[in-house]
Amino acid sequence: MSITEQRPVISKLEQQELRRLLAENKRIDGRNPLQYRNISVQLGYVEKAEGSALVELGNTKVLAAVKVGIAVPFADTPNEGILIVNAELVPLASPVFEPGPPSEESISLSRYVDRSIRESKSIDLSSLCIVPGRSVYSLYVDLYILDYDGNLIDASVIASVNALGITKMPKYVVEGQAIKKTDEYFKLDLKDHPVSLTYAFLDDKYVVDPCLSEEYASDFTVSMTVKADDRFCAIQKNGGGMISPRRVIELLERSLELGKELRTVAYRQLAGGNG
């Protein structure tokens, strides 16, 4: 059962301050409403993973790591590799994260990141088949939220795409019935560089890349993922509240403008990037 979330209390004063500033197009951390926080990307942070990236978006820290293995394909897609995205809201990241089975927030986050990667066709899953119906590559993207200061979605998409962008795939050879791992590797072919843009709405105003207090004070957020060719591959409204269709169209335009810049900054280190 999904139950009305109990947000940590943020003081009336802070709420009022956020709104007062926003009325003048200012924000509590000095940004303008359409400005992202600083982004830093550290590629290959975990050596044991075939691909990994530590992303800092302001004070939000997300570590994405890709583990590659082989698996039996799903019955309905015998010729396709398997992609699984999982997000862990690690308790050390925030007092509101609790140990235990995945919360609906973590499920919703990983499903959104999954859609951003899968629907953008960033990975050609049919190229990850080893023996049809029997053996395919499996890509597990594990997201570890290490420090939580808002906007997990955008940071997680950036971390996942960066990690996949440097993923080394172990080569397997088929010897009769057996499939053997070799010492050789090839680079995973990443076909797109999607970015997600998240907007938080406070009354009739909105800000991009909300920090935690903005997220808590907001009525709802809207995330949109844009591909390098300016088409959209995922959209989601999170939280209660209502948005007018006119506003949705405005956000689509904004996302195309802001997406280009964000893509350049977020994937600067990926060689041969198409962003």
Partner: protein, 242 residues
């Protein structure tokens, strides 16, 4: 994806004979269960979905309650026999996400401040699934809330729009959902001009999203009328009984 599946016949009709902006046949009935405070049943194409509402009632354990308003609990669930392959009755990740998305779509409609420290339970059971179940379930759940006499700012009707074979279309069926290029569920209230549910997956350009959105608005306006008619039918029957 779907090269071998024909989503359109040669005369341009969809696999079930509809035009691009044509909804599937919809049948709605309000007040179908005896125990629930409010309930509603919807058939949309081959979807068969029941929604029930219990509450407002005391929120227990007490720590889940809020001092200034009621809380909502929502469960979207698919029956094991609702799909071609049996679905495990345990809630899947998809059902957990949809329960949250649907709660978020209903919460802005409920005048929650009128019932502090209480809880309203909303149950949506998909008995037969044919694509667009979250939307049909939401259309029914709002009516169950209304049937329970819970004050609402308005109703929302929900409908999936999307893209298949390069064409923008409304109310995707199971086939179009699976093999089409994009799926965008939208819940909309025409009087408040508000969208309470918005999701999209698949690939669409900005222009295509805009076009799909306007199709969704027209479709949900039609469905809104059906919702109002269903409520009228329910309460006019009661008047005769008195």
């Amino acid at each position: 994806m779907g090269e071998s599946i024909a989503l359109f016949s040669e005369d341009g009709k969809r696999s079930d004979g509809r035009g691009l902006d044509e909804l599937r046949p919809i049948r709605i009935k309000v007040g179908v269960l005896s125990n629930a405070q409010g309930s509603a049943y919807i058939e949309q194409g081959r979807n068969k979905i029941i929604a029930a509402v219990y509450g407002p009632k005391e929120a227990l354990p007490k720590h889940i309650s809020l001092p200034d308003r009621c809380i909502l609990r929502c469960r979207y669930h698919m029956a094991p026999f609702s799909t071609t392959e049996r679905k495990s009755p345990a809630p899947s990740r998809r059902e957990i996400e949809l329960s949250m998305v649907l709660r978020n779509a209903l919460e802005p409609l409920v005048m929650t401040w009128l019932f502090p420290r209480t809880v309203i339970d909303i149950f949506i059971e998909v008995l037969q699934a044919d694509g667009g179940t979250r939307c049909a379930g939401l259309t029914a759940a709002v009516l169950a809330l209304a049937d329970a006499g819970i004050p609402l700012k308005g109703l929302v009707a929900a409908c999936a729009v999307g893209k298949a074979d390069g064409k923008i279309l409304v109310d995707l069926n199971d086939l179009e959902d699976k093999y089409g290029e994009a799926d965008m569920p939208v819940a909309y209230n025409p009087t408040l001009d508000g969208i309470t549910l918005l999701q999209m997956d698949g690939i669409m350009s900005k222009e295509e999203v805009e076009q799909a959105l306007s199709l969704a608005i027209t479709a949900t306006q039609k469905m809104h009328k059906m919702q109002v008619d269903a409520l009228r039918e329910r309460f006019s029957v009661q008047r005769r009984e008195v």
